[in-house]
């Protein structure tokens, strides 16, 4: 982030102003803001509606629907977009882009809202109804306010993803800041111009983050008082069952069926010539190797941050934690640009090394790992530390024998999140990967941007396959909750 600022200074105030205030930037700004806001809105509406149907009605086979509706998360947005574009070239338009990004990102709202609905005490709704509110009114006045953190958090994630989305939008021929930065960078290596655009993008991300913080406010949504929540009374679907099932099936077909189907089609088309096994294997290997290395590195870095943040609350630690939270708003392309200019100006030998790429991954994915670890560490109550101390265990022994085993599930989830992110990461990898290193994502990108759809498909298929175990790990908790 600092390097973007330094670069800007290098450009000079007048020149920078010229670079920002020009029609091209205005157009990019309009595109980006429009797509981000509409995409957030449609994802929020679709995600909430689906979550309500799954959690609050007598929908048959709810567990299966939850899994199917969350599944688009497994498919990277640029693969979804590839599926649509290669099947229906006319989708490459602003409206098409809205459709595709909504289908790719609504699960980011669906999952947290469904989880909140599941945890919501039904007594709240029953009380509202006893006070004379209709079903719709009680949803609007009681349930929706409770959903606010989940809804805002999910929408924020959608917005940040949209701001930093590169592959999907490039394929859909929609220019936003991220795609423009990439074009600028690859066509002319124009540092100052791309840095200026990156600064505007960064500003948008921070604005979004601030808006979310502001809207969420400091209200408490915790359950007041004791008592165990009972299971919820579900609304019978009755005659609506057929249309609802059709609608759900439609979402699954559009969001999951189309990308996977078209992937399968291109695989079938490409197979007569046989697959290029060697490049496929090399790319898969480097994807997995980078993913594992980044997962280990980031988890090791995240652990002290999480431990300090939970156990030793102080101004320093909460600042540290907030800094990593801010980093969630950093688009991959901004991080990559900053690291490029950093290595070129300060540590030349680092440029185009795996170490620099891993550093980019660390900046990008540290927040995810910290969030999941933090939750896990705070599960381990401090009284357990006290007990361990009285039993003769010192601080290290206590961490090793008590805190870490308790945080293990969070550790696994954090590592899986990082692995998934890295395997499907495109922008930073394109900019920072050492010459000759290609991952599944970059190979897929190289082929599909030359409209070699059949050649691109096996890379995408492998990418989905490689991320499957990590996804399985991540969704295990959700599936367990549903099985109960």
């Amino acid at each position: 982030m600092l390097y973007i600022a330094v670069d800007m200074v290098g450009v000079g105030r007048v020149e920078a102003l010229d670079l920002i205030v020009r029609p091209r930037v205005g157009e990019l700004l309009r595109n980006t803001v429009l797509l981000t806001t509409t995409g957030m809105l449609t994802s929020a509406v679709l995600g909430t509606a689906l979550a309500w149907v799954v959690e609050r009605t007598t929908l048959p086979a709810r567990g299966a629907w939850t899994a199917l509706l969350a599944a688009p998360l497994v498919v990277p947005a640029f693969v979804t977009s590839f599926g649509w574009v290669s099947l229906l070239p006319s989708v490459a338009s602003p409206w098409g882009a809205l459709l595709v990004v909504t289908l790719a990102y609504y699960p980011l709202v669906f999952l947290p809202v469904a989880a909140t609905l599941r945890g919501l005490d039904p007594a709240l709704e029953e009380t509202a109804e006893a006070l004379g509110l209709s079903g719709a009114a009680s949803f609007a006045r009681v349930v929706l306010p409770q959903l606010r953190p989940a809804l805002l958090g999910g929408s924020l994630l959608v917005g940040l993803h949209l701001l930093s989305e590169f592959g999907a939008l490039q394929l859909l021929r929609v220019d936003t800041f991220t795609t423009a930065i990439y074009d600028q960078y690859t066509s002319s290596f124009s540092g100052p111009a791309s840095s200026t655009l990156a600064a505007v993008l960064l500003l948008l991300c921070l604005l979004l983050l601030l808006a979310e913080l502001r809207l969420r406010g400091a209200r408490r949504y915790a359950k007041v008082g004791g008592g165990t929540a009972r299971s919820v009374r579900r609304r019978p679907l009755g005659r609506a069952v057929a249309p609802v099932l059709t609608a759900l099936a439609g979402v699954v077909v559009l969001g999951l069926g189309v990308p996977l189907g078209s992937l399968a089609r291109w695989l079938a088309v490409g197979s007569p010539d046989g697959f290029p096994t060697r490049p496929l294997a090399t790319a898969a290997l480097s994807s997995v190797a980078l993913g594992v290395a980044a997962a280990v590195l980031v988890t090791v870095l995240a652990l002290p941050v999480a431990l300090l943040a939970v156990r030793h609350r102080s101004r320093l630690t909460s600042t540290l934690e907030r800094t990593t939270y801010l980093a969630t708003a950093l688009p991959g392309i901004v991080v990559a640009l900053a690291l490029v200019s950093f290595s070129l100006q300060v540590l030349e030998p680092l440029y185009q090394t795996t170490a620099l790429l891993l550093a980019a991954y660390a900046v990008l994915y540290l927040p995810r790992a910290v969030v999941s670890l933090r939750a896990a560490v705070s599960q381990a109550s401090p009284v357990l530390d006290d007990v361990a101390h009285t039993l003769g265990a010192g601080p290290w022994a206590t961490t090793w024998r008590v805190v870490l085993p308790l945080a293990a599930p969070g550790l696994r989830v954090g590592a899986a999140l990082v692995f998934l992110g890295v395997v499907t990461e495109l922008t930073a990898t394109l900019l920072l990967a050492p010459l000759g290193t290609s991952t599944l994502a970059t190979q897929f990108w190289a082929e599909s941007s030359q409209i070699e759809y059949a050649a691109a498909a096996p890379y995408a298929a492998l990418m989905v396959l490689v991320s499957a175990p990590a996804t399985f790990l991540l969704t295990r908790d959700v599936r367990r909750a549903n099985a109960l």
Binding site: S381, V383, L384, D386, V387, A388, H389, T390, L391, G392, A393, G394, R401, V402, P405, L406, A408
Partner: protein, 342 residues
């Protein structure tokens, strides 16, 4: 000799003085209960003993060996204290066996016979050794937590309201099991509680804590029958406090002329009458029944003296409890303590 000796312990959190010069001696092998309302500082006292926090002033010694004092502060893990917090706080990722052997040196952690002995000592079926804490009932968890605290042979066992999360029936059983296990191992223990029944029934000594001080430390019977002041009297059990005039060993009050426990300087005093000392019958001071709370094994009867209207609470054995509005007479059984009027 005392296994535990506290002298002049003070502790403040910011501007709030929580402990204000606490002195306490706990004889080796005995159980002392620190009894007080919530916020009186009793949990802080326990945390200072365990070494989780440091006192601002004072000294703490275990078996004559100072663990806190000028220039000394032994950390929690070297104090050899056994700690049983509220709700047990067993390590959720470990089996009961691994929990109990947590504090033992590595080579001793897999000794079957010793483990069985600890389980039997606290009254747990040896079969629970392989289970995880969430598979046990609250009472069983508490017993396992005690076994874990006792296993490394601690100098002092500290129990922080260990029964407050259990329901009434379980509480008594678990309390007795804990008492037996402590006796069997000869452990010295401090129990912190706000439940006077628990303190009086389990402890060898009861220390009553108020506003950061121990106002009385004595055997349970003395604390109940001869409380140090009116405040202790009304905290330890039900109390009817009446103004009276003392002369010699007889006090004159609204319930008549009563024999006192010991005597004091003649003059105005407060008289403590325990509700179970009041006999409802045909002799004594006239009164009218106002309210009856029936508990089965006994009943609590609220009365007003006629004609003064002074409010009196009596506790009578169940059966034959009077109806509200009944007129009857009150007399007092046994001797009563008196306190100088303020």
């Amino acid at each position: 000799m005392s296994a535990l000796e506290l002298r002049g312990i003070c502790k403040s959190f910011g501007p709030t003085q929580v402990l204000n010069g606490v002195d306490l001696e706990v004889p080796t092998g005995s159980l002392t209960a620190v009894l007080g309302p919530s916020g009186c500082g009793k949990t802080t006292l326990l945390r200072l003993l365990a070494g989780f926090e440091e006192p601002d002033a004072g000294t703490i010694a275990f078996d004559g060996r100072p663990v806190f004092g000028p220039g000394t502060c032994v950390p929690a893990r070297r104090r050899r204290v056994g700690y049983v917090p509220q709700e047990g706080a067993l390590f959720p990722h470990l089996t009961i066996a691994d929990n109990i052997t947590f504090g033992l040196p590595r080579r001793d952690r897999h000794t079957g016979p010793a483990l069985t002995r600890w389980l039997e000592l606290v009254g747990l079926d040896p079969a629970v050794a392989v289970r995880y804490p969430h598979e046990l009932s609250g009472g069983q968890q508490q017993r396992a937590a005690l076994a874990r605290a006792l296993a490394p042979d601690p100098a002092v066992v500290l129990l922080d309201e260990p029964f407050s999360s259990l329901d009434a029936g379980l509480r008594e059983d678990t309390g007795r099991a804990v008492r037996r296990a402590l006796r069997a191992t000869g452990a010295t223990a401090v129990l912190v509680t706000h439940d006077q029944g628990e303190a009086l029934s389990l402890a060898d000594h009861v220390g009553v804590m108020r506003d950061g001080r121990l106002v009385q430390v004595d055997v349970p019977d003395t604390v109940y029958r001869r409380p140090a002041d009116a405040g202790v009297a009304s905290f330890v059990g039900g109390a009817v406090l009446l103004p009276g005039t003392l002369s010699g060993s007889v006090v004159r009050c609204a319930l008549g002329d009563l024999d006192t426990v010991g005597d004091g300087p003649a003059g105005d005093v407060h008289v403590l009458v325990r509700p179970e000392q009041i006999v409802l019958g045909k002799a004594g001071v006239p009164a009218r029944v106002v309210e009856v709370s029936y508990y089965g094994h006994d009943a609590s009867v609220r009365l007003e003296l006629v004609p003064s209207g002074t409010s009196i609470v009596a506790r009578t054995a169940g059966g034959g409890t009077p109806e509200p509005g009944t007129d009857l007479h009150l007399s007092v059984r046994g001797n009563v303590p008196v306190f100088p009027a303020r």
